[in-house]
């Protein structure tokens, strides 16, 4: 059971950050879905509700998504529906149910780097960046490799890309976690990217397979490269071998959907 001893909703991000680092067990509260199923004692729960971080801004060169934006707001956003085949909307649309997505926040999921995250592979192929209060703006790809350090994710920045992108996942039932998920992007400028997540470790770009996709190599070769270069593991959802097998299938499905 979760215990939260005190609650505060600061009016500035500076105040929120100072409170966060003041004590080890002070913690940011997102939509609380994950916090709720934990069994920690939180000294001070810091709610970002007053910081105006709930937005999806359509700017000239990028789209900015505020940290407290809900997954449902991402799913139904017209701006995101019209961006790269609506990949971000699709990626969140199978997460539990509407009532859940009305609460779960995008910043929480990205900052926590969950292995099963359906959003992370998509953000990776789109070259997203994260804007952290203390560390500033960094590439999501680099952020995912970093050691955990207390910070506040303010927003996710997605460069406006001209291309097609698809998300695919394999889950036993709707609402369950993905056994494997992935995203593929092919830009009009010829660039291409493949990212695979829920292996069960966090999403990663398959660099060699992405290059092979860019060079328009045969599908068999792209699949082979991805299965070789990424590491797969075993958990209750599936074995390492099963995931490796699924990876090839996932890439085929994504390639069929995205076309050339």
């Amino acid at each position: 059971m979760i215990t939260i001893k005190n609650y505060i909703a600061p009016n500035t991000i500076e105040e929120a950050y100072d409170l966060l680092i003041e004590k080890k067990n002070n913690q940011i509260l997102g939509g609380c879905a994950f916090i709720k199923i934990g069994s920690k004692t939180i000294g001070l729960g810091i709610d970002l509700i007053n910081l105006n971080l709930n937005y999806i801004k359509d700017e000239e060169k990028e789209i900015r998504i505020g940290a407290t934006t809900t997954l449902r707001e991402i799913e139904t956003s017209l701006v995101l529906k019209n961006y790269c085949n609506g990949i971000l909307c699709e990626s969140v649309s199978s997460i539990v149910g509407v009532q859940f997505r009305n609460m779960a926040q995008v910043g929480a999921g990205v900052f926590s780097k969950y292995g099963f995250s359906d959003l992370l592979p998509c953000l990776l192929v789109l070259d997203a960046k994260v804007n952290l209060h203390s560390e500033g703006i960094i590439d999501l790809k680099d952020f995912l490799k970093r050691e955990y350090k207390k910070d506040i994710l303010k927003e996710i920045i997605i460069p406006k890309k001209d291309g097609k992108a698809v998300f695919e996942n394999i889950r036993k039932t709707s609402g369950d976690f993905s056994i494997l998920n992935g995203a593929m992007y092919i830009g009009k400028d010829g660039t291409a990217k493949i990212a695979i997540g829920a292996r069960p470790t966090k999403a990663e770009i398959a660099e060699k397979a992405s290059k092979a996709l860019e060079e328009k190599q045969k599908l068999d070769e792209i699949r082979k490269l991805a299965c070789e270069e990424l590491n797969f593991g075993t958990n209750v959802k599936g074995t390492k071998e099963y995931r490796k097998g699924l990876c090839a299938v996932l890439i085929t499905k994504m390639k069929e959907r995205i076309g050339d």
């Binding site: 979760i2 215990t3 939260i4 001893k5 005190n6 609650y7 909703a9 509260l29 939509g31 609380c32 879905a33 709720k36 199923i37 939180i42 729960g45 709610d47 509700i49 649309s93 199978s94 539990v96 149910g97 509407v98 009532q99 859940f100 009305n102 609460m103 709707s174 609402g175």
Partner: protein, 154 residues
């Protein structure tokens, strides 16, 4: 703190780690059911500013200044749906019904004339151990059809 529940302002003392489900049940809103307590089943659904959320996972302190609606607050509006659920044999133990009805109210608030696919997608988070969903979908479609043809009734 003060909570706006079904358009009534109610004074209540809450702990920082109290979730809305506990607060609502302690205040006597017993339509709000407790199930998984882990955001997975949908039985604890209530409306927050007209949209469905899971009360088991929503911190009560956060709800200050917002409008909470439970099944007790939409009795009249939901009566047709309740009747259709009974007619279609879509209720067995009935435990999931309040959460389902609140989700349908939210669906109505959000989507005009939803397709069957949209209804299924919207209600994906409402688990029912007894009925197999078909009866529920029939009832919901009848209810939504009635609404579109006789909007003055509902």
């Amino acid at each position: 703190m003060k909570l706006n529940i079904n358009n009534k302002l109610i004074d209540v003392d809450v702990r920082p780690d109290e979730f809305l489900l506990e607060t609502l049940r302690k205040l006597g809103y017993l339509s709000v059911k407790e199930g998984c307590q882990s955001s997975s089943c949908g039985v604890c659904g209530v409306l927050l500013d007209e949209k469905i959320i899971l009360s088991c996972t929503y911190l009560t302190l956060r709800a200050e200044g917002r409008k909470i609606t439970t099944l007790e607050g939409v009795r009249e509006r939901s009566q047709y749906l309740v009747d259709f659920l009974a007619e279609e044999g879509a209720d067995q133990c009935g435990y999931c019904a309040p959460g389902l009805i609140m989700a349908v109210m939210s669906l109505e608030n959000e989507i005009d004339n939803p397709t069957e696919e949209e209804i299924y997608h919207y209600l994906d988070g409402n688990l029912c151990r007894c009925t197999g969903y078909k009866g529920q979908i029939r009832a919901i479609k009848k209810y939504l059809d009635l609404k579109s043809t006789r909007s003055e009734v509902i």
